[in-house]
Symmetry: C2
Subunit: 318 residues, 2 copies
Amino acid sequence: MKEFDFIKSIKQSTYSQPSLMKGVGDDAAVFRQGHADIVTAVDTFVEGVHFTKKTMRAYDVGYRALAANISDIAAMGAKPVMYLVSVVFPNTWTSEERLHIMNGMKELAQEYRMDMIGGDTVSGDTFVLSITIIGYVHPSNVRYRSTAQDNDVVFVTGTLGDAAAGLSILLNQVDGIKNDRYFIHRHTRPTPRVTFAKALHTIDRATLNDVSDGIANEATEIAQASQVDIYLYDEKIPISTHYNQFSPTNQYNWKYFGGEDFEMLGTVARDDWETVQLAAKTTGVDVTAIGTVMNGSGQVYLEKNGTTKPLPKKGYQH
Amino acid sequence: MKEFDFIKSIKQSTYSQPSLMKGVGDDAAVFRQGHADIVTAVDTFVEGVHFTKKTMRAYDVGYRALAANISDIAAMGAKPVMYLVSVVFPNTWTSEERLHIMNGMKELAQEYRMDMIGGDTVSGDTFVLSITIIGYVHPSNVRYRSTAQDNDVVFVTGTLGDAAAGLSILLNQVDGIKNDRYFIHRHTRPTPRVTFAKALHTIDRATLNDVSDGIANEATEIAQASQVDIYLYDEKIPISTHYNQFSPTNQYNWKYFGGEDFEMLGTVARDDWETVQLAAKTTGVDVTAIGTVMNGSGQVYLEKNGTTKPLPKKGYQH
């Protein structure tokens, strides 16, 4: 099959986004946006680096890759609306697997009424999936990581470390893990926090980072971009039921440096903390205050068992 | 080096596009565009499929990949303004080669005042470069391939088959080819026809396709999208000096099915043909009338030596 025929063969018969003038089928897609700012990012997934066929089905690979991209858009306070896909398929991939990849993306895309507006597929030795995502956001609601201030509350949605635990269960094939299907699901089918992030729209100033590389890394990015220090309290870090069945070392590594929980880490003025809690409630998400912003120079500290130490930036290494 | 650090390390210190609110350095880039339509496409290049290190230096790989993307934007009548890059680097690539890839893109980007606004780099077994490009165009100047009409003039810029000839010279290492450096340059450093395409802005209706897969394929795309037939005249197809030194079979295959000349194939009303010629003159590009549009059903015909036969769609197979 020729390069672009596959994308044409799976092109949508109708599009959801009224701003889209032309989707798949010309040299490029065309859209129009007079009111909102346009937000865009690219994320790439490589077989053997980000996943293996042993740990993830083709459908989940597509689903999870798009979820990661949507998560980036959510972390800007924006609404995901369109995406472009570039795939390198090895000859060993069946046409069924190729479709599953696309269908995994499609399921999540439909949830957000997102349109696939372009892409290309190429043959190659290694499977590579690269997604470019486009979102819209009202200019006053863009969430830059550079706006944290002294005395802000640091918060995080959901629980941390679950996705890394799930991956570990898949890789090591250990039996007898309590809630194993929950942990695996957190790894294979993460939920981007789009509705929660958008529900913060009444708040003037907030930073948001999606947890794609562990909160130690995400907190450092906010601290450095805002030139503040961030103090995190170990006892406050939210973990799920049965998370404490894992070894203390794993628990520590996964919740601070285990990437890809795709929860939302953020900071807001103390006066806005109640609004954050309300936003969480109305969107069905848990949110926990886990730290404080202080004047500083871009460092993250962890308070644990009465002592405070710098938390290394070391994020998730694939 | 961590995934995203490479992109951060080569991020621009200043940006050229005033519509850009945020480039590299947050979860996503942000831009604003209230007047123009936004045009976007993705294109992917794989080592061993689209090029080999034997035929192309890293710098040229970057240059050519971005040129191909810019060409898609030009074929929509749009101005290229920004791009995102996703690269899979094998461990065998030196940091010098990695920089060369980026610098090849940068040279061409600077020519158009384009900004690199995001990207990511990942390790993997095979080199893969995927570029997402963004352009702007006034809504009345978008060039869809679906607007060709009966009696339109079919035209093409420059000369055809040169890039395929250049690739063949590189692959076969034949000596004694006249103008060999010209042909190789046409393969490694194609010139996207941005200024020519934009100079057509006074014309109400025109189709444009960039020649990335041979004119047989590009003409078929226009014919099918517009539901017309296209007649091409073999004797009119523009070829470069010394092109006739190649075998008749190669000449035929390269000019009709040899992809990647990145010339512009288009159709306009007969009354606008003079304007096209003027636009070519003022932008320093040759343009040749090579055929006619007729009422029909999406077929392309070639008139050669007094006989007319369907021209197969068969494009360039990597």
